[in-house]
Symmetry: C2
């Protein structure tokens, strides 16, 4: 049986959320039928991605490389990173993938899936300021001319960023999503739908935690990465 590797810890609950989504999409009726999976959650060695991209902070690539190396030593055949911002080409270019390990790109797979499902359409994006301002999704969207990426006004982007990062009420800081963070994120989604978007990408791995129930108009890249990791290892087990 092939094995899945997850670089988690960025943030911690986004890593376990990805693992749980792998379990949920696996056609298994007892423990032993599940795919082998390894998770590293070592945030102390992976500096903040947005800080690196926007404010000259330390490069997270060496820490991510070290985690992938450990996952490969454990036996992982296909590896994914549970963090949108880490998929910036400026970070990924310095991440080393060991020979024999397949890197499954979350954003690439998300764009492919959106294009297949929605065809010509406007697609909204909410994310960290790092993901928005460095145009990560924009760069990946360029392959698909039928898709138009819609970013909310600056003020909304800043509110969403704080709903993720604020030390008091931000999703990264609280054991459960706070009412304030939930309200900000829900309002941003409504605003984008009002701007004509067929669907909205929850472009930060903390954001799906605001929506525990599936909603076809919300694109969860974590969920898509989970399915892509199964396809890359034991595709016959994908539900």
């Amino acid at each position: 049986m092939k094995s899945i590797g997850i670089v988690g810890g960025v943030g911690p609950t986004a890593g376990t959320d990805l693992a749980n989504k792998v379990f949920r999409h696996t056609n298994a009726h007892k423990d032993q039928e599940h795919i082998n999976l390894y998770l590293t959650s070592c945030p102390s060695i992976i500096p903040d991605r947005t800080g690196f991209l926007l404010s000259g902070g330390e490069d997270p690539a060496p820490g991510i490389t070290e985690c992938i190396r450990k996952l490969a030593v454990c036996g992982a055949d296909a590896v994914g990173i549970a963090c949108n911002t880490a998929h910036s080409p400026l970070i990924l270019k310095n991440v080393v993938i060991p020979e024999g390990v397949v890197f499954v790109n979350m954003i690439d797979n998300t764009c492919k899936k959106i294009h297949k499902r929605f065809g010509k359409s406007k697609i909204g994006l909410i994310a960290t300021l790092g993901t928005i301002r460095t145009g990560i999704y924009k760069q990946y969207f360029e392959k698909y001319s039928e898709l138009e990426l819609v970013i909310p006004p600056d003020e909304t982007c800043e509110q969403v960023h704080r709903a993720i990062y604020d030390p008091e009420y931000g999703i990264k800081s609280t054991p459960r999503v706070s009412a304030r963070a939930s309200e900000v994120v829900n309002n941003a989604v409504k605003q984008l739908k009002g701007m004509g978007c067929s669907a909205v990408i929850l472009g930060c791995t903390e954001l799906p935690l605001v929506f525990p129930q599936p909603d076809p108009a919300l694109i969860d890249p974590t969920d898509i990465l989970a399915m892509s990791l199964i396809k890359a290892t034991e595709p016959q087990l994908l539900v």
Copy 2:
């Protein structure tokens, strides 16, 4: 910084549940303040624990040993297993702990905590038939003569076991806890309280999934193991 290792996969969601409880009990306000954690979820190499204890199935100890070895190679300093039944002395006696790694025993720590919190009292137990019939908790309780362990009638034990294992409605088989499994488990807890128990141990790592909200009369060994793993690595970070 010291690192935590989790033998997960037994079952898969119990492993990520333990990891999430570690994150929740850590005093961290940004990703980088969390404790390094590694998780293996390799159920295909860990045969069913109840099957081994009650029906002559294959020994899960070699698979557990292999997972702990991998966690040690990653750098884990303290390791826990997210499965009650695996804590049977008949299984643990064949599990090899590498030198320099501390094994944090979930049931030992649970008994210690119950004794401290409840003193002389009746404590109920719901669990798999493997855990019940081989008397795992009974053996650990022997150190505490003030505590009386109460097991529900056979019929209830069998219903709870099926609520965990049934291929149609069991907690291990469904992506979310089914209404039927939830009803069976809630009724068993009520029955034990009716028998005079001050608290009820949710003695299988799948059972806390039935109760997402904390309840002081329900003892969650996964939650206690999470806190014990933090104490064994970075105790100053325990909330």
